[in-house]
């Protein structure tokens, strides 16, 4: 990392008087003392919703899958919609922590910790749906290939559903490892400022006994880089394989070669929207406006408008290719999707995903906290409808008109969906309260280049020479910036 950064590049750590010590104070403060009242209220609401979700899960297992709204034609509906929605949300966390690390985007440091946590909690919620759709959940381990007394009876390695088992479980494991390896140094920071013996003990256990020696950091950086390199193709493979669940079938509307890139773009799109929602809540709840700055929000909005446009292009491409294919059933699937009985869902999807994010072309809106929040909610809704539209509209008019059917969800369907939102927010709020919600060490590592207070020093040669005791034998003032650049290159 070059210690010099152009002063015209926007700062990523605000606050005139920020120092390393203040970064620690500001971030760790949220784990100390009594939580703010707003947190208590949010936590109570989330956990009540989560409990209702758990009740619905129990009810499903007790009564059977019949309590869902599925029928003989639409045998996949809200369950798989929710699954794909949650998995997609998870993708932004990995994108921020891995892909942006490879691209050396410094703005990832302010949001990567919470985004990775979001990934893990989203994958937990996603996993619930296919597992509970199996019916007899206690036999869920049948999906793994292991030697058994039933034959041996193995799983089918040609099936995308099995690929999904491997993709999702690997994705979950690697995300947890990546997240936790970054958390250890920050837990050590909390440990070393803990006041009580119990707190010290707990955070020492969580930190695995980290001290921050040179060799530990060297291995830490090597590990982060390789895990980022592994996670990048991994995250692309996961949603590619999720799209294979549909694309390898022979159902018109699903049997589409465009699905893998289209699903990946959609996943990043919806994931960034959820990161945006969570970050706006977190920075408000814990007063972290100096670390999750408007510059961070703007960067995320840029990703949202880009991926939203990719998704828009994919929607149009699908329609054009269906027309161009000359294949009657494919044409009907798309005609029915846009103008059939689920027209309302299609219109919601198009409005929320394609049209509304286009306002982010305007800088004022991109940098507005209010509009960022509003549009992130729109995108979350739109992306849920996208999965619903793809899944239900392709199924509900079967090849035989006598099998045509309409899907209506039951209260259990709705309860499960809302319940997972509750589970997600319960986990996230617990995380935000007890864990360092911003990667302390990583924010410090960009401090000397990207903080407002450090940038001010950089522009002032007098202050600067205090730290870097180079002999200043040439120009001050107007040439200051060029001059420092040169000095740094010498080091």
């Amino acid at each position: 990392m070059n210690p010099y950064e152009s002063p015209i590049r926007e700062a990523l750590i605000n606050g005139e008087d920020t120092t390393y010590g203040k970064i620690t104070d500001d971030i760790v403060r949220n784990t100390e003392g009594t939580p703010p009242k707003s947190w208590m209220i949010a936590f109570a609401l989330a956990s009540i919703t989560a409990l209702f979700g758990v009740f619905c899960l129990g009810y499903t297992v007790w009564k059977g899958i019949g309590v869902w709204g599925l029928n003989k034609t639409v045998d996949w509906a809200w369950d798989i919609t929710n699954f794909v929605w949650w998995i997609g949300i998870g993708h932004a966390g990995t994108l921020i922590s891995a892909v942006l690390l490879l691209f050396r985007q410094k703005w990832r440091t302010g949001i990567n910790r919470a985004a990775e946590a979001m990934t893990i909690f989203a994958v937990v919620c996603a996993g619930l749906f296919p597992v509970f759709h199996m019916g007899r959940v206690w036999m869920a381990f049948f999906i793994f290939p292991y030697p058994n007394t039933r034959g041996p009876l193995w799983v089918n390695f040609n099936s995308p559903l099995l690929w999904d088992v491997f993709a999702i479980s690997t994705y979950f494991t690697v995300s947890v490892l990546f997240w936790y390896s970054g958390l250890m140094p920050d837990f050590a920071t909390i440990r070393d400022r803990a006041k009580t013996a119990r707190r010290k003990m707990i955070y020492n256990v969580l930190s695995f006994g980290w001290i921050g020696s040179a060799k530990q950091w060297q291995r830490f950086e090597s590990l982060s880089l390789v895990l980022a390199g592994l996670s990048t193709p991994l995250v692309l493979s996961v949603h590619t394989i999720v799209s294979f669940d549909f694309a390898t079938s022979v159902v018109p509307g699903w049997h589409t070669t465009i699905f893998p890139p289209y699903f990946v773009a959609g996943a990043i799109f919806s994931g960034f929207a959820m990161v945006q929602t969570l970050m706006l809540i977190t920075r408000k709840l814990f007063s972290l406006q100096n670390y999750i700055t408007v510059a961070h929000l703007e960067s995320m909005n840029k990703v949202i408008v880009l991926t939203g446009s990719i998704v828009g292009v994919a929607y149009i491409t699908e329609l054009v290719i269906a027309w161009y294919s000359g294949y009657l059933y494919e044409q009907y699937a798309f005609y029915n999707r846009a103008l059939g009985p689920y027209k309302w869902a299609y219109i919601s999807m198009m409005t929320c995903n394609v049209i509304s994010p286009q306002v982010f072309w305007f800088k004022k809106i991109r940098r507005s906290v209010f509009y960022s929040f509003l549009l992130s909610i729109f995108v979350n809704i739109g992306m849920w409808f996208e999965r619903f539209v793809i899944i239900v509209t392709s199924l509900h008019r079967d090849f035989l008109p006598s099998s045509w059917n309409y899907f209506t969800p039951t209260w259990v369907d709705a309860g499960l969906y809302i319940g997972t939102i509750g589970i997600f927010f319960t986990l996230f709020l617990l995380f935000a309260r007890t864990f360092p919600v911003i990667a302390i060490a990583e924010v410090k590592s960009i401090f000397s280049t990207s903080a407002v207070s450090a940038k001010k020093k950089m522009a002032d040669p007098q202050d600067f020479s205090d730290v870097h005791s180079h002999s200043h034998d040439h120009g001050h003032g107007a040439h200051a910036v060029v001059h420092h650049d040169k000095n740094f290159n010498e080091q």
């Binding site: 210690p3 390393y20 620690t24 034959g151 041996p152 193995w154 390695f157 040609n158 099936s159 099995l162 690929w163 491997f166 993709a167 479980s169 690997t170 494991t173 690697v174 990546f178 390896s181 250890m184 140094p185 920071t189 440990r191 070393d192 400022r193 013996a197 020492n204 695995f208 006994g209 980290w210 001290i211 921050g212 020696s213 040179a214 060799k215 530990q216 950091w217 060297q218 291995r219 830490f220 950086e221 090597s222 590990l223 880089l225 390789v226 592994l230 996670s231 193709p233 991994l234 493979s237 394989i241 294979f244 060490a441 990583e442 410090k444 590592s445 000397s448 730290v467 870097h468 005791s469």
Partner: protein, 187 residues
């Protein structure tokens, strides 16, 4: 120089306020031929490895071999199952249908590489739940940078030389600390 030596119990600890000062100090002190026990910092200091004379880590090489193990495990297990133990006709395709095995093979490669690397990382870095480390200075995980010197077997002249080198390079504090056992309680 070793990251966590258990042989020494007495240390001199020089505290610095800024990573640039720390880097300069390391250069200066090493040029005098003084052996540095360790450098502690709240975040990875860029460019510290060559200055300290640390060898490059071989963790990524280990990662490669773990990954290869995953690839071979996946391919051999799937081949055994699909070709020999439980041949099943799926859509009239050959029993051994390699393209269909790429996703699972890829996932297992990533899984083995990650789990293997993280395990190696934890063992080599002496990190496990419940491990109680030697804490030289509590502030090194907050806003201070520290250089430590093992002084059990050093003469008082050597110790004076270390202290003066620390003073010359702008250390804000020079402390001494003695650890009683190998397992110190958190203080």
């Amino acid at each position: 120089m070793s990251a966590t030596s258990t042989e020494s119990n007495k240390f001199i600890i020089g505290i610095y306020d800024h990573e640039e000062k720390l880097l300069k100090a390391i250069k200066h002190i090493r040029s005098k031929g003084i052996e540095i026990h360790d450098a502690l910092s709240p975040f990875p200091v860029h460019g510290i490895d060559p200055v300290l004379g640390l060898k490059d880590t071989r963790l990524h090489t280990a990662g490669f071999f773990f990954g290869m193990t995953g690839t071979l495990t996946a391919l051999s297990v799937i081949t055994f199952i699909s070709k020999f133990n439980y041949p099943l006709i799926v859509g009239g395709k050959p029993f051994w249908a390699l393209p269909a095995y790429i996703p699972v093979t890829f996932e297992l490669t990533v899984l083995f590489a990650s789990v293997g690397m993280v395990t190696t990382y934890l063992i080599r870095n002496k990190l496990w739940p419940g491990h109680v480390p030697r804490i030289f200075d509590k502030r090194t995980t907050d806003d201070k940078f520290a250089l430590t010197f093992a002084i059990d077997h050093r003469s008082s002249a050597d110790i004076e030389q270390i202290k003066s080198a620390l003073g010359e390079t702008g250390a804000s504090e020079i402390n001494t600390k003695e650890f009683k056992d190998t397992d110190e309680p958190l203080n």
